[in-house]
Symmetry: C2
Subunit: 404 residues, 2 copies
């Protein structure tokens, strides 16, 4: 069976008019002799509205009931899509996660899909039906409804593609694909035709909000080709696939930048095992997300300097935690708000020497000072003053030939 | 186990504030050492909103998907109530119909509860939990979601009371109980303390919208005591119970009246078997609800006159059907809009002679002409000009001592 999984995000099914459009997209795939499995999110705004209701009941609203509450949104969207296809004369029906069932493991509000019972859906596909499956949810061992966390419909789609050995998983969303950089920040940003899982993972981690990193990782592990595209325009999107499928003549695939970061430097930290943990453990406990971490080589073998970035909004909280925690020892604390992390990403840099130099030279030419540097196999990140973000993006985008 | 079933209608759970109030009512019952089973409708307005969405997709929206769509409303309400009770420190959880399961028979959109699996709920009650069960729905043999028609949460409550042998079923709604007549039409209307199933059935059929007749009938057949009361005020409501439980010194329990009725008379209809059917079949097919039907004894043994009432809005449609249907034969067709049906209801009339006379005399004193008369064991209905409705209600309410 030639199976394709189509996943529609909340904005794609945000109104009845859009749902009808989505039904048209599904019908087109059906005509191409694909067996189509559809996964849908809740209509945009619905989940937030339900979460708001739960908070009005209690700031500590029960996790199990939260899952029952918010999972209703996908039920509504799926029945409307199925109804729309039936109206078009197609055989379709909604499949709620418990009816399949989709089994999950882990905590409520944050489960992971563990197993999908294939029998019913396979029979339904063989009978020519188009199943419309509720994303973002499953049931646990006790038949209680679970959800897979925000953005979890992508995870549902990837896992369905895996279990049903789909040829492709198409993620329909409100953007046309993945861009070389944020089009809101740089007009010359271009849609990327094809990108590797690894590059996409870096892009997602760095704020390209097209897909959750966990779903990209699942796709990578299961070698599932993903296409990210818009449900509003008839244009091809971005294909996310394995490296060997990509004939790339560009060294750099994309450039990302963060906003509203702050830099924290601890000067004169004891250079011994467990020190970093003693610093990050209390921050983690208070849900402060530490991003970039850089530690220099110890000059005298006794002390070192540790720098990390956090969101600007967490700066005061972080300062308080560091100053009040007696286990964190250092000589001096430097705090700097208003920094931005610029990252260039590309598998091409593995085989191309001099990329680092070209990045630094480009920034130097623009008289942009580099505060901190961090590199991985396919990514180079630098911290700069946030006022130079656009300037840096523009220069790097040109330097690495992403403008055309 | 001393079990009570509490059912909350849409207006009772219409806002978060009201849901918190409902949680308070449930907690109070729990304190009285009752095992409490809760059934909830969707938050008011939600079901209509969902139905509207389905109609925007298609005027012939799939019945099976309709059930999936609208049943989501109860899921939301139940999780919020359970969450609110958990917040109060009580053991509670939502139970969706499929989790119990509640099994139904019949068509989608209009199923009837056939069986309720008691094990899980009984164990949960024994463990001290308060189950919050989605009303209005169940699953069929194929595990597809079904609904029991509008107002179906009452039916769910009655069936739960039956299967769990509850001592009482309390229907919380937005009115304080059942009244001697519509308080909007007559200020002197009084709340009825206790009423028999049979009287309540007549009242419900005649437009007292407190409960659906089918649920009252289910309660009657299973001898379940129902209390109808308001979730907004702490006052006792109306007890609906079997006749033998009622010590009633009133002949008449209530008076009802209809609005916007029209009268259709077919003069000179052949007096032979199958004639009435030939008239009402095409009307039924077009979903025209025929209410009062009166046929006079045939004067000459060959012809008779047939009169029935319908809603005013159906008058033109009815006229067209009768005139266009060749199987309906008559000499003359009389149509009259603007009639009202006034009914007095009471088991007391069985043992009290002269009730009919008193009713007719009271109307005669007010110079109100009676157009058609129809009686049953515990009800007398007359058709009058609708302009005299209030006058008739006032006079009859006084005559049968319902004013005090």
């Amino acid at each position: 069976m030639k199976i394709v999984v189509l996943k529609f995000g909340g904005t794609s099914v945000g109104t009845i008019k859009k749902i009808k459009k989505v039904a048209g997209i599904i019908a087109d795939y059906r005509k191409k002799n694909f067996k189509v499995i559809v996964v849908s999110s809740a209509m945009s705004g619905v989940t937030n509205e339900l979460v708001k209701k739960s908070r009005e009941i209690s700031e500590n609203f029960s996790d199990t009931e939260y899952d029952v509450l918010v999972s209703s949104g996908e039920q509504v969207a799926c029945s409307l899509i199925a109804g729309s296809l039936i109206h078009k004369g197609l055989k379709s029906r909604s499949w709620l996660a418990w009816q399949i069932p989709i089994l999950t493991k882990g905590l409520h509000k944050n489960s992971r899909i563990n197993k999908i019972n294939k029998n019913k859906i396979l029979n339904y596909l063989k009978d020519g039906g188009i199943p419309i499956i509720t994303g973002f949810q499953g049931i646990d061992d006790e038949e209680r409804i679970t959800t897979t966390g925000r953005g979890g419909s992508d995870a549902s789609a990837i896992m369905l593609a895996k279990f049903f050995k789909a040829q492709k998983c198409i993620i329909y969303t409100d953007v046309e694909g993945v861009y070389t950089t944020d089009p809101n920040k740089l007009k010359k940003a271009k849609k990327i035709k094809v990108i590797s899982y690894e590059e996409m993972l870096e892009m997602a981690s760095l704020g390209a909000k097209v897909m959750q990193p966990v779903s990209i990782q699942d796709a990578r592990l299961n070698r599932i080709n993903i296409e990210v595209k818009s449900s509003f325009v008839k244009k091809s999107g971005t294909l996310i696939t394995k490296r060997s499928n990509i004939i790339n003549n560009k060294i750099i695939t994309g450039i990302s930048s963060t906003n509203n970061d702050a830099k924290v430097s601890l000067i004169g930290v004891k250079d011994k095992p467990g020190v970093a943990a003693s610093i990050f453990k209390p921050l983690s406990k208070k849900s402060i997300n530490v991003d970039m971490v850089v530690q220099n080589i110890s000059a005298n073998g006794k002390e070192t300097d540790l720098t990390f970035t956090i969101k600007s909004e967490d700066l005061n909280k972080t300062k308080k935690i560091i100053l009040e925690n007696k286990n964190i020892k250092f000589r001096n604390l430097l705090l700097k708000d208003g920094v931005s992390k610029i990252s260039i990403i590309g598998v091409g840099m593995i085989t191309t020497p001099g990329v680092t130099f070209r990045m630094f030279q480009t920034l130097a030419n623009e008289k942009i000072n580099i505060q901190v540097i961090s590199t991985s196999e396919i990514k180079i990140s630098v911290l700069i003053d946030k006022n130079y973000t656009k300037k840096a993006l523009k220069a790097l985008h040109k330097e690495f030939k992403l403008d055309n």
